[in-house]
Symmetry: C2
């Protein structure tokens, strides 16, 4: 060696050690399902994580073993993130909203040996226990008084915290998260220590999460969704205060945000929508947040406008379980200060720009060998690569990437010259009509702008001449009487003429996936015998 800088393995334990050392007294507040609240600190989280590591050791759990959590957001879940990683284990965050068959599949596929769960999910545990033969230990985070289940606090209290984190390779896994899987079985994504640390570090930057030491974050995005977007790691690196709520009732969130001085929050669009509705119904002002991260699906324009008018910076983000999940984040751009409010909204409505580490490209939907220009106009299949992007699914026989390392996201989007990503659809939902592509998402977004439309889903239906033509399924708002021609008329000045649906079908409901997205697969299944009028 000619000379060298220090050896330093990139392990998740570095993150909690840093937080406990540099922001040891900074608070972590938890509002539990039963309405009680507890407070701890970064030093407290680390202390309990050390005890949990000992408890797992004592239970015979080995490095590499999977420990499942079936839980909402709270400090004990956070302790588990660091405690499991600290003993070399892999925390498998299970989405409690999955269907039973999926719950059975993933716990068995993961071979989880321990399950840490919220009392609220005791019914799931009781129903599934016999179908989860690999699970040897069940530990309840918040056991009801008098219950005979093993309680998390008691379980770790048997240990003294005198423990050294397990060292290992930085490419070792530390977390396992399954995709909700709109087709086929859920697939497991194994996050590594290294990928997790790099993802969080890049996410810290000013143009992404923008955490400063005075930040107070209430993440509404569940800890079982793609590592809660990496926030519990990034927040620890920056030493911020966290406020967790185990319930997503807007009344509870609103009260917590206002009382605890919350500056930042993060969630899917429906969370913000529910918050708006709650504040409006109760004649309350929205919390004065500094920043709101919105991801999971595209934020509607009125949501962005309303938050921005309230003085909140909107960080519109795109990613997926396979991307840890941050791919792009929208924050103020180069020319931000010179933009009108309308232009700022327009910019924010796109999905932001890749943070350092992430590389994007778009590919022609018809010719996968053709890389598309970043011209702000041409849309294509979105591909991604980088250190926190999946290479191979858990236990898969082959890589999920192509020969050059690109992972196909299944999304369709446009790349702009300044790096901005504008998502337009999913590859399997985009509608091919006469050799051209129609974005189902843009049709839906235009339709839900109508005050009488509660929800809309556009699906391509077979057509002998055009290949496919769009049909729009619409759920009317309660009491509304809107007709199909009303919808078409409304859309006329919002989309190209040849994009106008061939039919509008009113339905009582639209099916959703476990993560709350429209399930076009189920919709297509429901309407598999549908025939377009005039299409024979």
């Amino acid at each position: 060696m000619l000379g060298a800088m220090q050896d330093w393995t990139m392990r998740v334990t570095r993150v909690i050690d840093h937080a406990a050392r540099e922001a040891g007294a900074r608070e972590i507040v938890s509002r539990w399902a039963d309405g009680t609240e507890t407070r701890t600190t970064w030093a407290g989280i680390r202390g309990d994580a050390l005890k949990l590591a000992q408890a797992l050791d004592a239970a015979g759990i080995e490095p590499g073993d999977r420990v499942a959590s079936l839980a909402m957001n709270h400090s004990r879940h956070l302790v588990s993130w660091y405690g499991v990683a600290g003993m070399g284990g892999v925390l498998h965050t299970v989405n409690p909203r999955l269907f039973e068959d999926q719950l059975e599949y993933i716990v068995n596929h993961a071979e989880d040996r321990v399950l840490l769960y919220d009392a609220a999910f005791q019914p799931i545990v009781d129903r599934m226990r016999d179908r989860w033969p690999t699970v040897e230990h069940y530990v309840c985070y918040d056991p009801p008084a008098g219950s005979d289940v093993t309680g998390f606090e008691d379980w770790i209290a048997a240990h003294d915290g005198d423990y050294r984190w397990i060292e290992g390779d930085e490419r070792d896994p530390c977390m396992l998260c399954y995709t909700s899987g709109t087709t086929g079985n859920p697939k497991g994504v194994l996050y590594e220590h290294r990928s997790t640390v790099l993802h969080a570090l890049s996410g810290l930057q000013t143009s992404a999460f923008n955490f400063s030491p005075s930040s107070v974050m209430l993440p509404v995005v569940p800890m079982f969704h793609a590592a809660s977007w990496g926030l519990p790691y990034a927040g620890a690196m920056a030493g911020i205060k966290f406020v967790f709520s185990a319930v997503n009732d807007p009344a509870v969130l609103d009260e917590l945000m206002k009382r605890e001085g919350v500056t930042d929050s993060a969630g899917v669009p429906t969370v913000w929508l529910a918050h708006f509705q709650f504040c409006d119904a109760n004649n309350l002002e929205l919390p004065k947040l500094r920043a709101a991260t919105i991801g999971g699906s595209a934020a509607p324009r009125f949501m962005i406008e309303r938050l921005m008018k309230n003085g909140t910076r909107v960080q519109h983000a795109w990613g997926m379980t396979e991307t840890s999940p941050i791919g792009t984040v929208g924050g103020p751009t180069t020319d931000w200060d010179n933009l009108t409010f309308e232009e700022k909204v327009e910019t924010t409505a796109k999905q932001g720009r890749p943070i350092f580490g992430v590389e994007l490209r778009t590919i022609d939907l018809d010719d996968p060998t053709k890389v598309l220009p970043r011209d702000g106009e041409t849309s294509g299949a979105l591909q991604i690569r980088g250190p926190w992007i999946i290479k191979r699914y858990f236990k898969a026989e082959q890589d999920a990437t192509d020969a050059d390392g690109w992972f196909d996201t299944g999304d369709v989007g446009i790349l702009h010259p300044d790096g901005t990503l504008q998502l337009t659809d999913r590859t399997k939902d985009v509608i091919k009509s006469g050799g051209e592509w129609i974005s189902s998402v843009e049709l839906e977004n235009a339709a839900v702008g109508h005050p009488d439309v509660a929800e809309a889903a556009a699906v391509g239906m077979p057509h002998p001449k055009w290949d496919e033509r769009p049909v729009l399924f619409v759920v009317r708002k309660e009491g509304a009487t809107i007709s199909d021609s009303d919808v078409i008329d409304y859309l006329k000045d919002k989309v190209a003429k040849w994009w106008l649906p061939d039919a509008v079908e009113f339905v009582d409901d639209i099916p959703h996936t476990a993560t709350g997205k429209i399930s076009k697969k189920d919709l297509r299944e429901r309407f598999k015998d549908y025939t377009l009028e005039g299409a024979t």
Copy 2:
């Protein structure tokens, strides 16, 4: 493999690729020594770096070879940072202010094969050429018209840029920087690709450099000083605009800052002082910067106050060549919004907090086995470890760290419970009196608050009873007639009584090192026969 995220070596080329891809049109402005200006972009920097890599290849330079630069700040120097690293080479940034013996030593020690230099340093090149036998190629960044030296632009113009960056291990070196060495020969610090990327990424965060896409940075800190604090890498990651000046004339800097919309700058305290004096003398307002990073030595309080009153966030930083260099940076703290202006100044006058990756501790000055508490009171020898901290100097026979990986910084400081570092002295300058420690720096800082004192240096002189007692060497301001008792009287309510110097000696000048710091070594040498009155 159970599953995996993607392979992605942390190489410096990732940084320039990202900047060229995501912020390709963002400008890089250079103001040259002859007064001319040129403009390029991140895409242009990358394009030229590819050509430089080819030119180095063509000249027979191999991966691992050292390429020296003797240059101020400008775009061609920036091209060299990325071009040399891109072909696997190591850029050795030589400080042109070093003495000839040091210049001879380091170029020979580094075995530099190419020297890229500014025309302003042609006299150094002419004088040193015969003493630099390893240098095979001399290339001038800005050759005067009609000169017959090889010009950088011509040299790289012979190539087409059709080049693939050399891949390699992320622990390969990419840059070499020598300490100015107040004792013994200068020592080389080899920055690695990995350490450089991690350092820049952590430096990007809101509580450190806080770059956003709209940032426009004029770094006054030279590119030959500790990688210009990593700014050229962090700036590329964030896609900011850079404005470089090859001269540090405050008139030029002021004009550039105002004309180019500069939002951020970085430099040592004397740079800011010169800027204040220039603006005052010419009745100009200070530039309205968003942020000023000050490092290299401690910023005086009046400087912090004046910048903050001008609406500028002061990022008071601490580090050294051996630490890449960022150890700590001061930005707004947890309770910032609740502090009075005075308290904000007080907080900012300390050296900030370690960014993620850096770990600090203090050790008893008398008992090196004793780790001191982080109580905000106890001062001791400052030690550091982390991924961008030195392990072993270039060509050294042994590590520069102790068995636990700690590097002793030679600084003396206090750690506060919230992680804040407060530097008090250098280990070799702190004065031991009666078993207690007196900070020479605090004495000096107190003394220079007197309006008649231009500069002051405190040195411990041998004393038979107390071991050492402080003597204060003072340079009077021009025309001032201050006496030794005036100085002592002035200090009486500023330092503890037993800290008061036993003698004040007026001198015409105080010696400085090549980096502009007070050279106590030279001062001690000059006064080696000094005897304290009454000390026999």
